[in-house]
Symmetry: C2
Subunit: 298 residues, 2 copies
């Protein structure tokens, strides 16, 4: 989930990479671990959410639960995996019954069972929850961020910026605004399964289109060239905020590449193409984008 | 891990049980979820540790990492599972490099790879970490807390109370005291695998011998009768503190039952027997134990 890395986080992740030498870990550079298990392949991911970072203090606990499930389902979607179950690490809070309600709604919506977890009382300060999602791969190989090839077309399954608009409306208490995209994101599980057998690279857009596209480019050793005019945005987004929308994240659409002559088996938008790497991993409208590529939430 | 349930926790777990209807969840009443996957069986568990609850503020970060791995390995041991990998949910702290060092030591000691996870910055207050451990079952059926039968003998793989003594020495800064049992618990993975095919019931003792024995009794619908004089304790434990040692936890020995005529295939101590349920789930020296059966840490 969201928020770019601090220096401390970058250093810690480097330490973890040195430990995560098993090929299933995919060098911690992918949306999920991919583990051969029996005659099948297990896909597993773990995300944390922290109060004040990933959700607004005072936000409806039911929405927090929904989002915890949805973001992890999105990681499974990026692998074309079918959900098998989730484990919840929960810090007790002001309205545990609302959290349980939202959790139940999300489990039903995504068709995934709760299998276990742990509950703790945090004595002070910000609460945090963790969720582990388990899935079953439906394709071989399982899609990765690497795999984009020069000549491929870059696609996205839906608009970016809706979560940002929803977050701002919620933060500002805007009357009558639709905040669903921020509060109750969906995960593209069906699309992910349809795409998994044919994509070059695939990932979900959680931290911002530009930063995630850059990650795909770096993992693939190519340049991703994106054209703003082709990127889908919500109708209500002002033109001047298109760059914000491309760096905000939390929309959980799937970003993927296909050979130039191939049409996706689901609704998607061609937003750019893959070029051989010539010094820059990402180009926006033909130029290297300046400033932040991913946005800090909260 | 440790600390008895608060009212809020009890209520929340009841809400979660209502959601966790999948048989693999084992009604959230076991040490781990057990999931048929391919032609094998997956065992998966998730534990959280909170600063000030599960570890002392200022404690060596390397030991915190060790314990996070060890406690989850112990859950796998209770299922006779072979570790497959772990995912870490980590809140950045004052000494991430020490944490990484201890994590690496624990991964090597337990022979388990780091497969993935998430890193966050907690803005304020107590930090918490989560760990998910994945294992492969080595027996069919996979041992459960239920399965103790009247006439069985109750066994434990080693002493209880060592972690309590270590915790107190660490808290009090006792010079020359050995605090290893609290800081660097082991998990009985080898013993768990040897026992899994033959036990009636099995679990790890994480929250206190008496409360965990009671859980086994409740899950099995029987009475567990334990004799204090047969329970192994550390040599340095004063006699007057045997009851404390039986209610403290964090020792991560395996508690299991075998038919009366069977000897365990590993070092273990017979500490009682299983009776038909006649109104009380646990008897200590022939009487219903009064007061707390599990101890709050920290």
């Amino acid at each position: 989930m969201a928020s770019p890395e601090s220096d401390g986080e970058t250093r810690f992740i480097a330490l973890m990479r040195a430990l995560a030498v098993d090929p299933a870990a995919r060098a911690l550079a992918d949306d999920a671990a991919v583990i051969p298990f029996g005659h099948e392949t297990l896909v597993i991911t773990h995300d944390m959410m922290v109060e004040g970072v990933h959700w607004l203090r005072g936000q409806d606990e039911a929405d927090i639960a929904w989002k915890l499930i949805a973001t992890n389902m999105s990681d499974l979607a990026a692998k074309g995996a079918e959900p098998v179950g989730v484990l919840l690490g929960y810090a007790l809070g002001p309205d545990d019954a609302r959290f349980a309600l939202g959790l139940g709604e999300a489990l039903a919506a995504f068709g995934v069972p709760l299998l276990g977890g742990d509950t703790v009382s945090a004595p002070t300060g910000a609460r945090s929850h963790g969720l582990t999602a388990l899935g079953r791969a439906t394709s071989d190989p399982v899609p990765a961020r690497s795999g984009a090839k020069a000549g491929d077309v870059v696609w996205i399954t839906g608009p970016v910026g809706g979560a940002m608009l929803g977050f701002e409306a919620l933060r500002d208490g805007t009357a009558g605004a639709d905040t669903t995209a921020f509060r109750r994101p969906m995960a593209r599980l069906r699309e992910g399964r349809a795409l998994a057998p044919i994509v070059g690279a695939m990932m979900d857009v959680s931290d911002g289109l530009l930063i995630d596209a850059q990650r795909m480019a770096l993992a693939s050793g190519v340049t991703l060239a994106i054209t703003t005019a082709r990127v889908p945005f919500p109708e209500s987004l002002p033109l001047a905020r298109r760059r914000d929308a491309m760096t905000w994240g939390d929309d959980y659409e799937l970003l993927f590449t296909l050979p130039g002559d191939q049409t996706p088996p689901c609704l998607a938008h061609a937003i750019g193409h893959v070029e051989e790497f010539r010094g820059d991993s990402i180009l926006l409208d033909g130029a290297v984008p300046q400033g932040r590529l991913g946005y800090r939430h909260g």
